[in-house]
Amino acid sequence: MRSLLLYGPLVGVPILGVTLVLESGRNLSAPPNVSGRWNLTTPVTVDSVACPAARGLLHTSGLEIRQSGAEISVTLVGASNGTLPGRVTRGSDSLITLAVATGAVSFHAIVDRSTTPARLIGSAEWPGCGAGHRAEIVAASVGRIGARSR
Protein backbone atom coordinates (compact mmCIF):
# COMPACT_ATOMS: atom_id res chain seq x y z
CA MET A 1 0.00 0.00 0.00
CA ARG A 2 2.86 2.29 0.94
CA SER A 3 4.54 1.62 -2.40
CA LEU A 4 1.33 2.48 -4.24
CA LEU A 5 1.09 5.80 -2.42
CA LEU A 6 4.70 6.60 -3.26
CA TYR A 7 4.20 5.76 -6.93
CA GLY A 8 2.63 9.13 -7.64
CA PRO A 9 5.44 11.35 -6.37
CA LEU A 10 8.31 9.08 -7.37
CA VAL A 11 7.12 8.08 -10.83
CA GLY A 12 4.27 10.36 -11.77
CA VAL A 13 6.01 13.63 -10.97
CA PRO A 14 9.13 12.94 -13.08
CA ILE A 15 6.94 11.87 -16.02
CA LEU A 16 5.08 15.15 -15.69
CA GLY A 17 8.44 16.86 -15.48
CA VAL A 18 9.51 15.36 -18.80
CA THR A 19 6.44 16.72 -20.56
CA LEU A 20 7.10 20.15 -19.05
CA VAL A 21 10.71 20.00 -20.21
CA LEU A 22 9.67 19.10 -23.75
CA GLU A 23 7.19 21.95 -23.77
CA SER A 24 9.59 24.54 -22.42
CA GLY A 25 12.38 23.46 -24.77
CA ARG A 26 10.22 23.89 -27.86
CA ASN A 27 11.56 27.37 -28.58
CA LEU A 28 15.18 26.69 -27.75
CA SER A 29 17.56 27.28 -30.61
CA ALA A 30 20.85 25.61 -31.38
CA PRO A 31 23.73 26.80 -33.58
CA PRO A 32 23.25 26.36 -37.34
CA ASN A 33 24.36 23.05 -38.81
CA VAL A 34 27.17 23.08 -41.37
CA SER A 35 28.56 19.62 -40.73
CA GLY A 36 29.23 17.08 -43.42
CA ARG A 37 31.22 16.76 -46.58
CA TRP A 38 31.76 19.75 -48.89
CA ASN A 39 33.23 19.11 -52.34
CA LEU A 40 35.22 21.83 -54.04
CA THR A 41 33.43 23.09 -57.15
CA THR A 42 36.35 25.12 -58.49
CA PRO A 43 40.03 24.19 -58.22
CA VAL A 44 42.07 26.04 -55.65
CA THR A 45 44.77 28.27 -57.08
CA VAL A 46 47.58 29.37 -54.82
CA ASP A 47 51.26 30.10 -55.27
CA SER A 48 52.66 27.15 -53.37
CA VAL A 49 56.25 28.06 -54.30
CA ALA A 50 56.05 31.42 -52.59
CA CYS A 51 53.93 29.96 -49.80
CA PRO A 52 54.86 26.31 -49.16
CA ALA A 53 52.41 26.12 -46.27
CA ALA A 54 49.60 26.40 -48.80
CA ARG A 55 50.74 23.32 -50.67
CA GLY A 56 48.37 21.05 -48.77
CA LEU A 57 45.37 22.90 -50.13
CA LEU A 58 46.32 22.13 -53.71
CA HIS A 59 45.73 18.42 -53.17
CA THR A 60 42.45 18.66 -51.37
CA SER A 61 39.17 17.59 -52.95
CA GLY A 62 36.98 19.12 -50.30
CA LEU A 63 36.25 19.79 -46.67
CA GLU A 64 34.94 17.52 -43.95
CA ILE A 65 33.29 19.53 -41.20
CA ARG A 66 32.45 18.01 -37.82
CA GLN A 67 30.37 20.06 -35.47
CA SER A 68 29.49 20.11 -31.78
CA GLY A 69 27.37 23.11 -30.97
CA ALA A 70 29.10 26.21 -32.29
CA GLU A 71 32.49 24.50 -32.33
CA ILE A 72 33.58 23.00 -35.63
CA SER A 73 36.59 21.08 -36.82
CA VAL A 74 37.49 21.34 -40.47
CA THR A 75 39.54 18.70 -42.22
CA LEU A 76 40.92 19.30 -45.71
CA VAL A 77 40.30 15.98 -47.43
CA GLY A 78 43.49 14.68 -49.00
CA ALA A 79 45.73 17.30 -47.38
CA SER A 80 48.16 16.79 -44.55
CA ASN A 81 47.21 19.86 -42.54
CA GLY A 82 45.33 17.87 -39.95
CA THR A 83 42.14 19.18 -38.46
CA LEU A 84 41.52 22.88 -37.97
CA PRO A 85 39.35 24.09 -35.09
CA GLY A 86 36.83 26.87 -35.61
CA ARG A 87 33.43 28.33 -34.78
CA VAL A 88 30.18 28.90 -36.57
CA THR A 89 27.89 31.89 -36.10
CA ARG A 90 24.51 32.60 -37.63
CA GLY A 91 24.21 35.71 -39.76
CA SER A 92 20.65 35.14 -40.86
CA ASP A 93 18.41 32.11 -41.31
CA SER A 94 20.29 30.94 -44.37
CA LEU A 95 23.67 32.67 -44.16
CA ILE A 96 26.18 31.30 -41.69
CA THR A 97 29.73 32.39 -41.01
CA LEU A 98 32.58 29.96 -40.41
CA ALA A 99 35.79 31.14 -38.81
CA VAL A 100 38.83 28.93 -38.49
CA ALA A 101 42.12 30.31 -37.21
CA THR A 102 45.32 28.63 -36.16
CA GLY A 103 48.82 30.04 -36.14
CA ALA A 104 49.49 28.62 -39.60
CA VAL A 105 46.25 29.33 -41.48
CA SER A 106 43.05 31.28 -41.12
CA PHE A 107 39.94 30.39 -43.02
CA HIS A 108 36.69 32.35 -43.24
CA ALA A 109 33.61 31.34 -45.18
CA ILE A 110 29.97 32.09 -45.66
CA VAL A 111 27.55 29.19 -45.99
CA ASP A 112 24.34 29.74 -47.89
CA ARG A 113 21.79 27.09 -46.95
CA SER A 114 19.03 28.55 -49.09
CA THR A 115 20.39 26.87 -52.22
CA THR A 116 20.32 23.17 -53.04
CA PRO A 117 22.96 21.98 -52.55
CA ALA A 118 24.13 24.44 -49.92
CA ARG A 119 27.12 26.54 -50.99
CA LEU A 120 30.24 27.53 -49.11
CA ILE A 121 32.31 30.47 -50.29
CA GLY A 122 35.40 31.44 -48.40
CA SER A 123 39.06 32.22 -48.41
CA ALA A 124 42.15 30.88 -46.68
CA GLU A 125 45.19 32.93 -45.71
CA TRP A 126 48.58 31.97 -44.37
CA PRO A 127 49.94 34.60 -41.96
CA GLY A 128 53.44 33.15 -42.18
CA CYS A 129 53.57 33.79 -45.91
CA GLY A 130 52.91 37.49 -45.69
CA ALA A 131 50.20 39.54 -47.33
CA GLY A 132 48.84 38.62 -50.76
CA HIS A 133 48.79 34.84 -50.35
CA ARG A 134 45.20 33.93 -50.38
CA ALA A 135 43.13 31.10 -51.84
CA GLU A 136 39.48 31.29 -52.72
CA ILE A 137 37.46 28.23 -51.78
CA VAL A 138 34.08 27.43 -53.29
CA ALA A 139 32.37 24.22 -52.31
CA ALA A 140 28.98 22.54 -52.41
CA SER A 141 27.52 20.29 -49.77
CA VAL A 142 27.13 16.58 -50.42
CA GLY A 143 23.57 15.68 -49.51
CA ARG A 144 21.20 17.88 -47.51
CA ILE A 145 22.93 19.88 -44.83
CA GLY A 146 21.34 19.00 -41.55
CA ALA A 147 19.98 15.73 -42.86
CA ARG A 148 22.11 13.00 -41.33
CA SER A 149 22.60 9.68 -43.10
CA ARG A 150 20.24 6.80 -42.13
Partner: protein, 424 residues
Protein backbone atom coordinates in the same frame (compact mmCIF):
# COMPACT_ATOMS: atom_id res chain seq x y z
CA UNK B 1 40.52 0.03 -50.32
CA UNK B 2 40.91 -2.02 -47.18
CA UNK B 3 43.03 -5.12 -47.65
CA UNK B 4 42.38 -8.37 -45.86
CA UNK B 5 45.76 -8.30 -44.18
CA UNK B 6 45.02 -4.89 -42.64
CA UNK B 7 41.67 -6.14 -41.33
CA UNK B 8 43.21 -9.31 -39.89
CA UNK B 9 45.95 -7.26 -38.24
CA UNK B 10 43.34 -4.95 -36.73
CA UNK B 11 41.30 -7.87 -35.39
CA UNK B 12 44.40 -9.51 -33.87
CA UNK B 13 45.52 -6.23 -32.31
CA UNK B 14 42.09 -5.55 -30.84
CA UNK B 15 41.79 -9.03 -29.32
CA UNK B 16 45.28 -8.93 -27.77
CA UNK B 17 44.87 -5.45 -26.41
CA UNK B 18 41.35 -6.06 -25.07
CA UNK B 19 42.40 -9.21 -23.23
CA UNK B 20 45.50 -7.55 -21.77
CA UNK B 21 43.75 -4.43 -20.54
CA UNK B 22 40.79 -6.50 -19.38
CA UNK B 23 43.19 -8.72 -17.40
CA UNK B 24 44.64 -5.68 -15.67
CA UNK B 25 41.22 -4.48 -14.66
CA UNK B 26 40.15 -7.93 -13.47
CA UNK B 27 43.08 -7.82 -11.03
CA UNK B 28 41.32 -4.83 -9.48
CA UNK B 29 38.01 -6.73 -9.36
CA UNK B 30 36.62 -4.68 -12.22
CA UNK B 31 34.53 -6.43 -14.89
CA UNK B 32 36.39 -7.45 -18.06
CA UNK B 33 34.11 -5.14 -20.06
CA UNK B 34 35.62 -2.05 -18.38
CA UNK B 35 39.06 -3.01 -19.61
CA UNK B 36 37.70 -3.66 -23.09
CA UNK B 37 35.97 -0.27 -23.17
CA UNK B 38 39.19 1.43 -22.16
CA UNK B 39 41.22 -0.61 -24.66
CA UNK B 40 39.00 0.71 -27.44
CA UNK B 41 39.53 4.31 -26.34
CA UNK B 42 43.30 3.80 -26.09
CA UNK B 43 43.44 2.46 -29.66
CA UNK B 44 41.46 5.44 -30.95
CA UNK B 45 42.27 9.07 -31.72
CA UNK B 46 42.06 10.04 -28.04
CA UNK B 47 45.27 8.24 -27.06
CA UNK B 48 47.08 6.38 -29.87
CA UNK B 49 45.98 8.97 -32.42
CA UNK B 50 47.31 11.78 -30.22
CA UNK B 51 50.55 10.10 -29.15
CA UNK B 52 51.47 8.37 -32.42
CA UNK B 53 49.26 9.70 -35.23
CA UNK B 54 51.20 8.05 -38.06
CA UNK B 55 51.04 4.64 -36.36
CA UNK B 56 47.34 5.17 -35.69
CA UNK B 57 46.67 6.03 -39.33
CA UNK B 58 48.69 3.02 -40.48
CA UNK B 59 46.91 0.60 -38.18
CA UNK B 60 43.42 2.08 -38.57
CA UNK B 61 43.25 3.95 -41.89
CA UNK B 62 39.98 5.78 -42.50
CA UNK B 63 39.18 3.44 -45.39
CA UNK B 64 39.20 0.45 -43.03
CA UNK B 65 36.54 1.76 -40.64
CA UNK B 66 33.72 0.55 -42.85
CA UNK B 67 34.80 -3.09 -42.59
CA UNK B 68 35.43 -2.77 -38.86
CA UNK B 69 32.05 -1.14 -38.40
CA UNK B 70 30.32 -3.94 -40.30
CA UNK B 71 32.01 -6.66 -38.25
CA UNK B 72 31.24 -4.87 -34.99
CA UNK B 73 27.59 -4.41 -35.97
CA UNK B 74 27.29 -8.14 -36.69
CA UNK B 75 28.79 -8.80 -33.27
CA UNK B 76 26.28 -6.45 -31.68
CA UNK B 77 23.39 -8.08 -33.48
CA UNK B 78 24.48 -11.47 -32.14
CA UNK B 79 25.08 -10.01 -28.68
CA UNK B 80 21.66 -8.37 -28.50
CA UNK B 81 20.12 -11.70 -29.48
CA UNK B 82 21.91 -13.24 -26.49
CA UNK B 83 20.68 -10.42 -24.23
CA UNK B 84 17.10 -11.04 -25.32
CA UNK B 85 17.61 -14.78 -24.90
CA UNK B 86 18.88 -14.36 -21.34
CA UNK B 87 16.04 -12.06 -20.33
CA UNK B 88 13.87 -13.93 -17.88
CA UNK B 89 10.25 -12.82 -18.28
CA UNK B 90 9.57 -13.86 -14.73
CA UNK B 91 11.81 -11.03 -13.63
CA UNK B 92 9.46 -8.57 -15.25
CA UNK B 93 6.39 -9.51 -13.29
CA UNK B 94 5.20 -10.71 -9.95
CA UNK B 95 7.99 -9.16 -7.96
CA UNK B 96 5.78 -7.17 -5.66
CA UNK B 97 4.98 -3.52 -5.29
CA UNK B 98 8.42 -2.62 -3.96
CA UNK B 99 10.21 -3.99 -7.02
CA UNK B 100 7.77 -2.29 -9.39
CA UNK B 101 8.21 1.06 -7.63
CA UNK B 102 12.00 0.75 -7.57
CA UNK B 103 12.31 -0.35 -11.17
CA UNK B 104 9.99 2.35 -12.54
CA UNK B 105 11.65 5.07 -10.48
CA UNK B 106 15.07 3.89 -11.64
CA UNK B 107 13.90 4.60 -15.20
CA UNK B 108 11.91 7.82 -14.91
CA UNK B 109 14.14 9.68 -12.49
CA UNK B 110 17.31 9.58 -14.65
CA UNK B 111 15.14 10.06 -17.72
CA UNK B 112 13.66 13.25 -16.28
CA UNK B 113 17.03 14.57 -15.12
CA UNK B 114 18.57 13.72 -18.48
CA UNK B 115 15.86 15.60 -20.34
CA UNK B 116 16.25 18.53 -17.93
CA UNK B 117 19.97 18.58 -18.66
CA UNK B 118 19.07 18.71 -22.35
CA UNK B 119 17.66 22.22 -21.79
CA UNK B 120 21.17 23.32 -20.83
CA UNK B 121 23.17 21.24 -23.32
CA UNK B 122 21.07 21.67 -26.47
CA UNK B 123 22.12 25.28 -27.26
CA UNK B 124 25.72 24.42 -26.41
CA UNK B 125 26.41 21.00 -27.89
CA UNK B 126 23.76 20.41 -30.55
CA UNK B 127 22.85 22.13 -33.80
CA UNK B 128 19.67 23.09 -35.64
CA UNK B 129 19.49 19.86 -37.65
CA UNK B 130 18.31 18.14 -34.45
CA UNK B 131 14.96 18.91 -32.86
CA UNK B 132 15.05 19.65 -29.16
CA UNK B 133 12.45 16.97 -28.43
CA UNK B 134 14.56 14.28 -30.12
CA UNK B 135 17.67 15.48 -28.31
CA UNK B 136 15.95 15.55 -24.91
CA UNK B 137 14.30 12.15 -25.33
CA UNK B 138 17.55 10.57 -26.46
CA UNK B 139 19.51 12.07 -23.57
CA UNK B 140 16.83 10.87 -21.17
CA UNK B 141 17.01 7.36 -22.63
CA UNK B 142 20.81 7.31 -22.48
CA UNK B 143 20.70 8.30 -18.82
CA UNK B 144 18.18 5.62 -17.90
CA UNK B 145 20.04 2.61 -19.35
CA UNK B 146 21.55 -0.05 -17.08
CA UNK B 147 24.04 -2.66 -18.24
CA UNK B 148 21.86 -5.68 -17.70
CA UNK B 149 24.40 -8.25 -19.02
CA UNK B 150 27.31 -6.79 -17.03
CA UNK B 151 25.14 -6.63 -13.93
CA UNK B 152 24.05 -10.24 -14.32
CA UNK B 153 27.67 -11.34 -14.57
CA UNK B 154 28.74 -9.21 -11.63
CA UNK B 155 26.00 -10.66 -9.45
CA UNK B 156 26.87 -14.20 -10.54
CA UNK B 157 30.58 -13.72 -9.72
CA UNK B 158 29.75 -12.28 -6.32
CA UNK B 159 27.09 -14.91 -5.68
CA UNK B 160 24.49 -12.25 -5.04
CA UNK B 161 21.81 -13.62 -7.38
CA UNK B 162 20.04 -15.32 -4.50
CA UNK B 163 20.38 -12.31 -2.21
CA UNK B 164 17.40 -9.90 -2.06
CA UNK B 165 19.69 -7.05 -3.15
CA UNK B 166 20.87 -8.96 -6.20
CA UNK B 167 17.42 -10.22 -7.11
CA UNK B 168 15.94 -6.71 -6.86
CA UNK B 169 18.77 -5.14 -8.86
CA UNK B 170 18.48 -7.74 -11.62
CA UNK B 171 14.71 -7.42 -11.85
CA UNK B 172 14.96 -3.62 -12.03
CA UNK B 173 17.72 -3.81 -14.64
CA UNK B 174 15.63 -6.14 -16.80
CA UNK B 175 12.65 -3.76 -16.67
CA UNK B 176 14.95 -0.78 -17.27
CA UNK B 177 16.55 -2.24 -20.37
CA UNK B 178 13.31 -3.37 -22.00
CA UNK B 179 11.79 0.07 -21.36
CA UNK B 180 14.90 1.93 -22.52
CA UNK B 181 15.01 -0.08 -25.75
CA UNK B 182 11.33 0.64 -26.41
CA UNK B 183 11.86 4.37 -25.88
CA UNK B 184 15.02 4.31 -27.98
CA UNK B 185 13.13 2.58 -30.79
CA UNK B 186 10.60 5.40 -30.61
CA UNK B 187 13.30 8.07 -30.73
CA UNK B 188 14.99 6.38 -33.70
CA UNK B 189 11.65 6.24 -35.52
CA UNK B 190 11.02 9.94 -34.87
CA UNK B 191 14.49 11.04 -35.94
CA UNK B 192 14.67 8.91 -39.04
CA UNK B 193 11.15 9.76 -40.09
CA UNK B 194 12.07 13.42 -40.19
CA UNK B 195 15.29 12.74 -42.08
CA UNK B 196 14.33 10.11 -44.66
CA UNK B 197 11.68 9.55 -47.25
CA UNK B 198 10.21 6.52 -45.50
CA UNK B 199 6.73 7.54 -44.32
CA UNK B 200 6.27 7.55 -40.58
CA UNK B 201 3.21 5.35 -40.79
CA UNK B 202 5.27 2.59 -42.41
CA UNK B 203 7.91 2.74 -39.71
CA UNK B 204 5.52 3.06 -36.79
CA UNK B 205 2.83 0.73 -38.06
CA UNK B 206 5.36 -1.74 -39.34
CA UNK B 207 7.23 -1.79 -36.04
CA UNK B 208 4.13 -2.28 -33.92
CA UNK B 209 2.86 -4.90 -36.32
CA UNK B 210 6.18 -6.70 -36.30
CA UNK B 211 6.40 -6.72 -32.51
CA UNK B 212 2.86 -8.09 -32.35
CA UNK B 213 3.59 -10.81 -34.89
CA UNK B 214 6.74 -11.81 -33.06
CA UNK B 215 5.20 -11.96 -29.59
CA UNK B 216 1.84 -13.49 -30.49
CA UNK B 217 2.76 -15.51 -33.54
CA UNK B 218 6.42 -16.33 -34.05
CA UNK B 219 6.93 -17.12 -30.36
CA UNK B 220 4.60 -20.10 -30.69
CA UNK B 221 6.07 -21.17 -34.01
CA UNK B 222 9.52 -21.35 -32.43
CA UNK B 223 8.48 -23.76 -29.68
CA UNK B 224 9.49 -26.86 -31.68
CA UNK B 225 13.11 -25.66 -31.61
CA UNK B 226 13.55 -26.71 -27.99
CA UNK B 227 11.88 -30.04 -28.84
CA UNK B 228 14.41 -30.65 -31.62
CA UNK B 229 17.18 -29.77 -29.19
CA UNK B 230 15.93 -32.26 -26.63
CA UNK B 231 15.50 -34.98 -29.24
CA UNK B 232 19.04 -34.52 -30.53
CA UNK B 233 20.47 -33.90 -27.06
CA UNK B 234 22.49 -30.97 -28.38
CA UNK B 235 22.37 -27.93 -30.68
CA UNK B 236 22.85 -29.53 -34.07
CA UNK B 237 24.48 -27.60 -36.93
CA UNK B 238 21.12 -27.41 -38.73
CA UNK B 239 19.43 -25.99 -35.65
CA UNK B 240 22.23 -23.50 -35.10
CA UNK B 241 22.09 -22.47 -38.75
CA UNK B 242 18.33 -21.94 -38.51
CA UNK B 243 18.66 -19.81 -35.38
CA UNK B 244 21.38 -17.67 -36.95
CA UNK B 245 19.27 -17.21 -40.08
CA UNK B 246 16.31 -16.12 -37.96
CA UNK B 247 18.51 -13.61 -36.13
CA UNK B 248 19.70 -12.12 -39.41
CA UNK B 249 16.22 -12.00 -40.92
CA UNK B 250 14.70 -10.38 -37.83
CA UNK B 251 17.52 -7.83 -37.68
CA UNK B 252 17.11 -7.08 -41.39
CA UNK B 253 13.37 -6.52 -41.00
CA UNK B 254 13.71 -3.94 -38.23
CA UNK B 255 16.56 -2.26 -40.10
CA UNK B 256 14.35 -2.03 -43.19
CA UNK B 257 11.47 -0.70 -41.11
CA UNK B 258 13.66 2.25 -40.12
CA UNK B 259 14.46 1.39 -36.53
CA UNK B 260 17.70 -0.43 -35.87
CA UNK B 261 18.82 -3.99 -36.64
CA UNK B 262 19.63 -4.50 -32.95
CA UNK B 263 15.95 -4.35 -32.01
CA UNK B 264 15.12 -7.20 -34.32
CA UNK B 265 17.89 -9.34 -32.87
CA UNK B 266 16.85 -8.50 -29.31
CA UNK B 267 13.20 -9.24 -30.07
CA UNK B 268 14.04 -12.64 -31.56
CA UNK B 269 16.00 -13.50 -28.42
CA UNK B 270 13.01 -12.55 -26.30
CA UNK B 271 10.57 -14.79 -28.21
CA UNK B 272 12.84 -17.86 -28.32
CA UNK B 273 11.54 -20.85 -26.30
CA UNK B 274 12.02 -20.38 -22.55
CA UNK B 275 13.68 -23.75 -22.06
CA UNK B 276 16.61 -23.21 -19.71
CA UNK B 277 18.79 -25.99 -21.10
CA UNK B 278 18.09 -24.94 -24.67
CA UNK B 279 18.93 -21.32 -23.86
CA UNK B 280 22.12 -22.30 -22.08
CA UNK B 281 23.22 -24.57 -24.93
CA UNK B 282 22.55 -21.85 -27.49
CA UNK B 283 24.36 -19.26 -25.41
CA UNK B 284 27.33 -21.57 -24.93
CA UNK B 285 27.62 -22.08 -28.72
CA UNK B 286 27.54 -18.37 -29.48
CA UNK B 287 28.91 -16.58 -26.46
CA UNK B 288 32.63 -17.17 -26.82
CA UNK B 289 32.72 -16.21 -30.48
CA UNK B 290 30.64 -13.09 -29.87
CA UNK B 291 32.16 -11.96 -26.56
CA UNK B 292 35.79 -12.82 -27.31
CA UNK B 293 36.01 -11.90 -30.99
CA UNK B 294 33.23 -9.61 -32.16
CA UNK B 295 32.38 -7.49 -29.12
CA UNK B 296 35.97 -6.24 -28.65
CA UNK B 297 35.72 -5.02 -32.25
CA UNK B 298 32.67 -3.03 -31.21
CA UNK B 299 34.58 -1.50 -28.31
CA UNK B 300 37.46 -0.71 -30.65
CA UNK B 301 35.11 0.84 -33.17
CA UNK B 302 33.52 2.93 -30.43
CA UNK B 303 36.97 3.97 -29.28
CA UNK B 304 37.89 4.96 -32.83
CA UNK B 305 34.84 7.25 -32.87
CA UNK B 306 35.56 8.70 -29.44
CA UNK B 307 37.53 11.89 -29.64
CA UNK B 308 38.24 12.96 -26.11
CA UNK B 309 40.28 15.77 -27.62
CA UNK B 310 36.98 17.44 -28.53
CA UNK B 311 36.34 17.83 -24.80
CA UNK B 312 38.74 20.72 -24.42
CA UNK B 313 38.63 23.73 -22.19
CA UNK B 314 37.13 24.26 -18.79
CA UNK B 315 33.61 24.70 -20.12
CA UNK B 316 33.57 21.40 -21.99
CA UNK B 317 35.01 19.48 -19.06
CA UNK B 318 32.44 21.22 -16.92
CA UNK B 319 29.67 19.89 -19.18
CA UNK B 320 31.21 16.43 -18.95
CA UNK B 321 31.29 16.60 -15.17
CA UNK B 322 27.69 17.74 -15.14
CA UNK B 323 26.65 14.80 -17.34
CA UNK B 324 28.34 12.36 -14.95
CA UNK B 325 26.77 14.05 -11.95
CA UNK B 326 23.28 13.97 -13.43
CA UNK B 327 23.72 10.36 -14.53
CA UNK B 328 24.74 9.26 -11.03
CA UNK B 329 22.15 11.41 -9.25
CA UNK B 330 19.35 10.13 -11.43
CA UNK B 331 20.17 6.46 -11.43
CA UNK B 332 21.91 5.84 -8.13
CA UNK B 333 19.99 8.49 -6.26
CA UNK B 334 16.62 7.71 -7.77
CA UNK B 335 16.96 3.97 -7.18
CA UNK B 336 18.24 4.49 -3.63
CA UNK B 337 15.30 6.70 -2.70
CA UNK B 338 12.74 4.33 -4.18
CA UNK B 339 14.27 1.20 -2.63
CA UNK B 340 14.54 2.90 0.75
CA UNK B 341 10.97 4.16 0.53
CA UNK B 342 9.88 0.61 -0.30
CA UNK B 343 11.34 -0.75 2.91
CA UNK B 344 14.98 -1.67 2.19
CA UNK B 345 17.64 -0.57 4.64
CA UNK B 346 19.89 2.35 3.66
CA UNK B 347 22.74 -0.06 2.95
CA UNK B 348 20.68 -2.37 0.80
CA UNK B 349 19.02 0.53 -1.01
CA UNK B 350 22.45 2.04 -1.61
CA UNK B 351 23.73 -1.27 -2.97
CA UNK B 352 20.81 -1.56 -5.39
CA UNK B 353 21.39 2.03 -6.54
CA UNK B 354 25.10 1.42 -7.08
CA UNK B 355 24.42 -1.73 -9.09
CA UNK B 356 21.80 0.02 -11.22
CA UNK B 357 24.26 2.83 -11.95
CA UNK B 358 26.39 0.41 -14.02
CA UNK B 359 25.99 1.39 -17.64
CA UNK B 360 28.77 -0.42 -19.47
CA UNK B 361 28.22 -1.94 -22.86
CA UNK B 362 24.51 -1.15 -23.18
CA UNK B 363 25.26 2.54 -22.84
CA UNK B 364 27.85 2.34 -25.62
CA UNK B 365 25.31 0.59 -27.87
CA UNK B 366 22.76 3.35 -27.25
CA UNK B 367 25.34 6.09 -27.79
CA UNK B 368 26.54 4.61 -31.08
CA UNK B 369 22.96 4.54 -32.31
CA UNK B 370 22.62 8.18 -31.26
CA UNK B 371 25.76 9.17 -33.15
CA UNK B 372 24.69 7.15 -36.21
CA UNK B 373 21.32 8.86 -36.46
CA UNK B 374 22.88 12.24 -35.77
CA UNK B 375 20.98 13.14 -32.63
CA UNK B 376 24.20 13.67 -30.64
CA UNK B 377 27.39 15.39 -31.76
CA UNK B 378 30.90 13.88 -31.62
CA UNK B 379 31.82 15.95 -28.55
CA UNK B 380 28.70 14.92 -26.65
CA UNK B 381 29.32 11.31 -27.71
CA UNK B 382 32.81 11.49 -26.17
CA UNK B 383 31.43 12.95 -22.95
CA UNK B 384 28.76 10.28 -22.68
CA UNK B 385 31.34 7.54 -23.32
CA UNK B 386 33.37 8.96 -20.43
CA UNK B 387 30.20 8.88 -18.34
CA UNK B 388 29.60 5.23 -19.24
CA UNK B 389 33.16 4.36 -18.31
CA UNK B 390 33.07 6.31 -15.05
CA UNK B 391 29.75 4.92 -13.83
CA UNK B 392 30.82 1.36 -14.63
CA UNK B 393 34.23 1.82 -12.99
CA UNK B 394 32.74 3.18 -9.80
CA UNK B 395 30.41 0.23 -9.25
CA UNK B 396 32.83 -2.29 -7.75
CA UNK B 397 34.65 -0.06 -5.24
CA UNK B 398 31.44 1.66 -4.13
CA UNK B 399 29.60 -1.63 -3.77
CA UNK B 400 32.39 -3.14 -1.67
CA UNK B 401 32.40 -0.03 0.49
CA UNK B 402 28.66 0.17 1.06
CA UNK B 403 27.89 -3.56 0.95
CA UNK B 404 30.96 -5.49 2.10
CA UNK B 405 29.02 -8.76 1.86
CA UNK B 406 29.44 -8.43 -1.90
CA UNK B 407 33.18 -9.03 -1.75
CA UNK B 408 33.79 -12.52 -3.20
CA UNK B 409 36.37 -13.51 -0.58
CA UNK B 410 34.25 -12.29 2.26
CA UNK B 411 31.17 -14.12 1.01
CA UNK B 412 33.14 -17.33 0.53
CA UNK B 413 34.54 -17.01 4.05
CA UNK B 414 31.11 -16.32 5.51
CA UNK B 415 29.63 -19.31 3.72
CA UNK B 416 32.49 -21.50 4.87
CA UNK B 417 32.04 -20.33 8.45
CA UNK B 418 28.34 -21.14 8.21
CA UNK B 419 28.98 -24.76 7.07
CA UNK B 420 28.64 -27.44 9.77
CA UNK B 421 31.97 -28.82 11.04
CA UNK B 422 32.63 -32.20 9.38
CA UNK B 423 33.78 -35.07 11.55
CA UNK B 424 37.28 -36.24 10.54
Amino acid sequence: MITLKVLLLQVALVIIFSRLVGLIFRRFHQPQVVGEMLAGIILGPSVLGAVAPKLSTTLFPASSLGALSALSQIGLVAFMFLVGLELDHRMLRGKGEAAVLTSHTSIVMPFFLGSLLALFLYPRLSDDSVRFSHFALFLGTAMSVTAFPVLARMLTERRLLGHPVGALALACAAVDDVTAWCILAGVVVMVRASATDLPLWITLGGTLGYVGVMIFGVRHLLRPLSGWFRTAGKITPDLMGLVLLLVIVSAAITEYLGIHALFGAFLLGVVMPRDKEFQEALTARLEDFVVLLLLPLFFAFTGLRTQIGLVNGAAMWGYCGLIILVAVAGKLGGTLVAARASGSSWREAGAVGILMNTRGLMELVVLNIGLDIGVISPALFAMMVLMALTTTLMTTPLLELVFPESRPARRAAAELAAEPVRAS
